[in-house]
């Protein structure tokens, strides 16, 4: 009882001091209003954030954290454009830690520049039809009644290409992001509908103004596609397809249809406008426009950052593959002569970013740092020259890697510690 009274008295005192501080409005001096001496060093060195209703209800990051998305590619089509449409926006990988991309910083891409549909989830339905015994229409509430899965997956845009003109890792690699996705396996829903044996492909269609659609092989549908309504512990953001999108783990971003409204099971490949974009003269090159190869990039230190001087640094980066889980990552700190095994900061998962790191003591000399990875099905990330050799084409500075560019990315480190694009 006594202690309670005491603490109440303390509280009142503190309140009075605070009130005094506010009235006086003299910042640091207000602390001298305490009627007892403060322990040296216990003073608050920083001003206080006054709790607002908004901040209490929905948290905000510190005003000192200013990392934002930027348009991609630099100098390309702006987002928003003059009409308020969104095209391509890259995530700030240089500031990322761990493997989860905050939903508010997840990269954005749309087929041709789109307004975001403002969908009322109560009005939205998903219909599955075509080569099934029983077509099915689900409200969002009904979708959530099915058994769910929660998995970590990256999504990467086919436009995520690095070249010598870009400055930061956001410019070179920012069109990839990784989230924890929650939803229902597409296979669960297709079994519920009674999938016919004649179904070989499916078309996934969105509800945005262009009704963007992609064709995906049925083997993928029955394996790991997720009809996702959750991202990082909350409903999808509108920019990521609220209220529901399809996850096609490891396939290029465009396949991950947002605002999903319809799935049609068909007996052959349906070429939609999206697939027209993938059209190539040769089967071989076309094949590389689907599943993403093994890829990694060092995010620290990376372009435009600066090492303050020789000494210890933990080189850190992200690795991923559309073929499965990442198996190994190697880092070179001497321009690619010697490769060292990096350590993982989390357990590699299928089609998900994994954070890797390599401890390094920089001696202050000029060098280049690189990373490369292998995945669990034996694919390995290669240098651009190796890829050109495989395709038997002459290697040139502006060589375009077929499919999504998954070649090794070098960062140059100058004697003054400045980090620049190694492809420049």
């Amino acid at each position: 009882m006594d202690s309670k009274r005491n603490s109440r008295r303390e509280l009142l005192k503190a309140g009075a001091a605070l009130a005094g501080g506010i009235t006086l409005g003299t910042g640091g001096k207000a602390q001298a209003q305490h009627d007892h001496p403060m322990t040296p060093g216990s003073e608050n060195a920083s001003p206080m954030i006054h709790g607002s209703k908004e901040q209490i209800e929905y948290g905000q990051r510190s005003k000192y954290v200013t990392s934002v998305r930027v348009q991609h590619p630099i100098g390309g089509r702006p987002s928003p454009d003059v009409f308020g449409k969104v095209f391509h926006v890259a995530t700030p990988l240089q500031d990322s830690v761990g493997v989860i991309t905050p939903s508010s910083l997840h990269y954005i891409a749309t087929t041709r520049g789109s307004f975001l549909p403002d969908i009322d989830p109560k009005q939205h339905t998903l219909t599955i039809h075509g080569l099934v015994d029983r077509p099915l229409t689900l409200t969002m509430d009904e979708l959530k009644r099915f058994p769910s899965v929660t998995r970590l997956h990256f999504i990467e845009c086919a436009g995520n290409r690095h070249n010598g003109k870009q400055k930061t890792v956001q410019d070179t690699h920012g069109m990839t992001s990784c989230s924890e996705w929650t939803g229902v396996l597409l296979s669960t829903l297709l079994k519920e509908c009674g999938l016919k044996g004649s179904a070989k492909w499916f078309v996934a269609e969105g509800a945005e103004e262009v009704k963007g659609a992609s064709s995906i092989p049925i083997e993928k549908a029955m394996d790991d596609c997720i009809i996702a309504y959750g991202q990082n512990g909350e409903p999808l953001r509108p920019q990521q397809g609220f209220p529901v999108r399809i996850m096609v783990p490891g396939f290029e971003g465009i396949y991950h249809t947002k605002f999903l409204r319809r799935i049609k099971l068909v007996d052959r490949f349906y070429m939609n406008y999206n697939e027209f974009g993938h059209l190539r003269p040769e089967d071989k090159e076309l094949a590389l426009g689907e599943q993403i190869g093994p890829k990694s990039v060092i995010t620290y230190p990376s372009g435009t950052q600066r090492l303050p001087g020789p000494g210890f640094y933990e080189i850190s980066g992200l690795a991923w593959s559309g073929g499965g889980a990442v198996k190994t990552v190697e880092v070179s700190t001497d321009g690619g002569k010697k490769w060292n095994r990096a350590e993982f900061k989390n357990t590699p998962q299928r089609m998900a970013h994994v954070r890797f790191a390599y401890p390094w003591k920089w001696d202050g000399t000029e060098t280049a740092i690189l990373s490369r990875c292998t995945d669990e099905i034996g694919q390995r990330q290669a240098m651009r020259e190796e890829i050109a050799n495989w395709w038997k084409v002459p290697f040139e500075r502006d060589y375009r890697v077929p499919g999504l560019d998954n070649s090794v990315m070098p960062w140059k480190i100058a004697r003054d510690g400045s980090v620049t694009n190694g492809l420049a």
């Binding site: 083997e219 939609n272 406008y273 094949a287 290669a382």
Partner: protein, 193 residues
């Protein structure tokens, strides 16, 4: 004895099930959540037009009518007169007739392997801001017009559900076909990267 009885109790219905209605049993819904859409609902919603054109609605149109629709619906504003000179993607090739299709510009009504893809995209994605408002006749007409200005079909050819899928596109068979996707396999057989 007890276990034997239990076995009989379990086995008989299982056998009956597999004899009488195994198909129905295997395909019955597990969760029973959701509803069955009507055929009419599906027809209205299904805007995916495959290469056979089976989903195409009734209707018809020619290039002459399409030229009028192109002007009326404001296509000119973004794509330019006759598909050239606008801010939106070019819709008529500037290349000569003897230039192979892969050396020409990437134009949907020129390079698409099936004319149905052109119909599908106009129908679902145009005009900008008024998507989904074109009638089937208008879509057939616009498709005919765009194919005509790219010298794929003659000006007087009428396109409808039957003739559209039969249009011979310039690309012929000269394009990459999707490979057989395999789980847990490299993205391209024999490609190490």
């Amino acid at each position: 004895m007890g276990s034997l009885n239990l076995l009989r109790v379990v086995t008989i219905p299982l056998l009956l099930g597999s004899l009488l209605g195994s198909t129905a049993f295997a395909q019955s819904p597990t969760y029973g959540v959701g509803r069955t859409p009507t055929a009419e609902e599906i027809r209205r919603m299904d805007i995916s037009i495959g290469p056979t054109g089976e989903e195409l609605p009734p209707g018809r149109g020619s290039a002459k009518e399409g030229a009028q629709v192109y002007a009326q619906k404001g296509c000119v504003g973004c794509h330019g007169a006759a598909g050239i000179g606008g801010l939106a993607p070019i819709l008529q090739s500037k290349q000569g007739a003897d230039v192979p299709v892969w050396k020409k510009e990437r134009i949907l009504p020129l390079r698409a392997p099936h004319a149905t893809i052109v119909w599908d995209f106009i129908n679902r994605g145009m005009p900008l801001g008024l998507e989904g408002t074109l009638t089937p006749n208008e879509v057939y007409s616009l498709t005919a017009y765009l194919l005509f200005i790219n010298k794929v079909i003659p000006e007087d050819q009428v396109l409808d559900k039957q003739s559209l899928p039969k249009v011979k596109m310039p690309i012929g068979d000269e394009y990459g076909k999707p490979h057989q996707f395999k789980l847990n396999a490299p993205r391209l057989e024999g490609y190490p990267y």
